[in-house]
């Protein structure tokens, strides 16, 4: 006895014409409906619409345009995932989500939002078409993808929907592959970026930009001049003093280290350099000027034994670099020029222990 056979390659397609069911076993389709095909027999398919999985029925194969998809699971419980650029898939889902909200905006008579969202939806539809047309040159494609992700993020924020977090290339971060901390930081950064864009869109209508640009135009690049006067510390061994600039908000160093070797006697190793311990941190630009906070960090690294307390001279290991202490000073005011600091000595207390560093810093 002939039976219907499960389909192997034909799993997913879209209806190219309206089809009205003519019997109990048949499934009605509207043009544009996507279907999951399960089995086939004599020019007919059996399956269900992706939008309504519970209703299964048969429909003519000639009414379906087949598309690529990956199948997960098997047998009755299988599911299909259409093979499309992930971004295109994201746009499609986003559009359907926004459309529902858009209709509610209409019924609630929120005219302005209704019109804005309508424009956003149309833009995304147009761009999605362009991506799918496959005729864009590579660089335009990348640019377009960027526009698309920006629009999606902006729209989600505008409609108070969940934030989608992306990596540098605009791909959605996979929570299984990203650490919790990176995910959190990405959320913060994305949130801030979108807020900034919304503010920008608002202020563009208010023309605040002009004054900000004028201010920054006058300071293209600057440098910080630091002189190390002394390190007062009971280390008991030779040490290295590393100085650098650090941004505590972004948790990263923004300059290289200035290294000074200090001897166990409490003076700089190279005595000739005693009054010459100077460094200039150059190439600081307007972006650094905009940082909320900049810190000057000194790290002391002890060079010698593993443990200071270890007095058994025979079994000593030497030449090991062990962290000893850290000193931090907030130099934001010096960098932004708020503090006038010519010839001013700064005294930075250390953690832990009784250490202090005297530093002479000025902005060039």
């Amino acid at each position: 006895m002939s039976r219907w056979v499960p389909t192997k390659k034909e799993k997913y397609g879209v209806a190219i014409y309206n089809y009205d069911a003519r019997g109990e076993e048949e499934l009605s389709l509207q043009i544009g409906d996507t279907v999951h095909i399960l089995e086939t027999y004599e020019d007919w398919y059996r399956g269900h619409r992706l939008r309504r999985k519970s209703k299964k029925g048969i429909f003519p194969a000639c009414y379906i345009h087949l598309k690529e998809a990956t199948v997960e699971g098997s047998g009755q419980k299988e599911t299909v995932i259409p093979t499309e650029l992930p971004l295109v898939q994201e746009v499609t889902t986003t559009l359907r989500e926004w459309a529902t909200i858009w209709r509610d905006l209409y019924v609630g008579d929120k005219r302005e939002m209704f019109n804005s969202v309508r424009d956003m939806i149309y833009d995304l539809i147009e761009w999605r078409s362009q991506i799918l047309s496959g005729t864009l040159p590579q660089d335009e494609l990348t640019e377009l993808k960027q526009k698309v992700t920006s629009k999606i993020d902006y729209g989600n924020k505008y409609l108070d929907l969940d934030l989608v977090v992306r990596d540098k290339d605009g791909n959605i971060l996979d929570p299984e592959l990203t650490s919790t901390i990176s995910l959190f930081r990405a959320h913060e950064a994305a949130s801030k970026q979108i807020e900034d864009r919304i503010q920008e869109e608002k202020s563009q209508k208010q023309n605040i930009d002009l004054t900000r640009q004028a201010k920054f135009a006058s300071t293209p690049a600057f440098a910080l001049f630091v002189t190390l006067k002394n390190v007062v510390c009971k280390i008991g061994e030779d040490a290295e003093v590393l100085m650098s600039l650090y941004d505590p908000v972004e948790s990263k160093f923004i300059s290289e280290n200035y290294l000074v070797k200090w001897s166990s006697s409490g003076l700089v190793k190279d005595i000739d350099q005693l009054h010459n311990l100077r460094a200039v941190f150059t190439d600081l630009g307007s972006e650094d000027l905009k940082r909320e906070k900049i810190s000057f960090v000194c790290q002391i690294v002890r060079v010698g034994r593993m443990e200071l307390r270890d007095n058994n001279t025979k079994k000593l290991t030497s030449g090991l670099r062990r962290p000893f202490g850290v000193a931090v000073m907030d130099v934001t005011d010096i960098i932004t020029g708020k503090m006038d600091d010519e010839d001013k000595q700064h005294f930075i207390p250390f953690q832990p222990g009784f250490v202090s560093v005297m530093v002479f810093a000025s902005l060039l």
């Binding site: 006895m1 219907w4 004599e42």
Partner: protein
């Protein structure tokens, strides 16, 4: 390559009469031009409208008309400020009218200038919706018939009235704008169980429909649509399905 092919086919279709002309046309048809042409063509695809799409549009209309009805009633519940245009006074009297949340009562009353959204309790008069007999517009309105000499086209386009109760009572309105006229006449038509007919309704329906169609056709991007319905094969000789869903399905 697709772009180059398109350049050539498009230029050839305009039948240039010499190689020179052909060269010029191909050069003029650069990439950005092709993009623009494609864009307009895509827009036209929906405009030219394949028969199944037109059919789908018709099927979607009822659902979307319902949305418009809801929007109209919501607007009426919000209410509008109207003016009583009087030739004698310099300042027109203001009055407000709004529908009750349960859609059963139309409240109205005089208000001072600057009252935004007065609560229903402050409006002294009311008419039960069930008592409304007819909706009249333009020239048919009682208040337009009165001053035949003083009518102007603008006011006629904004005037509407409802008649209620057996005795020819009528409540006369002059809408502040054509949009408000459309909103109110549509809303009152809905309350009277009739079809909406304003031009605003038609344009909004078109907006809602074209959006809906665009979204439905998203998965048909780059898929050709046949001009006529594919022929339906004869029914299968058996229904011995491979999978049995009778337990999972309700």
């Amino acid at each position: 390559m697709q772009v180059v092919r398109e350049q050539i086919t498009r230029t050839l279709s305009s039948k240039p009469t010499s190689l020179e002309l052909f060269k010029n046309k191909v050069n003029a048809l650069n990439y950005s031009e092709i993009l623009k042409l494609r864009q307009t063509e895509r827009l036209h695809q929906e405009e030219t409208l394949a028969p199944p799409v037109l059919e789908l549009k018709e099927r979607l209309k009822p659902e979307l008309l319902e949305l418009i009805r809801q929007q109209r009633l919501n607007r009426l519940c919000q209410g509008t400020m109207f003016r009583k245009i009087s030739s004698r006074r310099r300042q027109d009297k203001l009055w407000y009218c709004r529908l009750s949340p349960n859609h059963k009562m139309l409240h109205y009353g005089d208000v001072e200038e600057d009252t935004d959204n007065p609560p229903i309790e402050t409006l002294q008069e009311k008419i039960p919706v069930a008592d409304i007999k007819a909706l009249l517009t333009g020239k048919d309105c009682p208040h337009m018939k009165e001053n035949k000499g003083k009518q102007n086209k603008e006011v006629l386009d904004l005037a509407f009235s409802i008649t209620y109760d057996v005795e020819e009572y009528s409540l006369n309105f002059i809408a502040p704008s054509r949009t408000d006229f459309c909103l109110w006449t549509d809303g009152l038509s809905v309350l009277l169980g009739r079809d909406m007919s304003s031009e605003t309704m038609r344009s909004e329906l078109e907006i809602l429909l074209s959006m809906e169609i665009k979204l439905r056709l998203l998965d048909l991007e780059n898929v050709p649509i046949p001009d006529s319905a594919p022929s339906v094969p004869k029914p299968p000789s058996n229904y011995n399905f491979c999978y049995d869903f009778s337990q999972t399905e309700q």
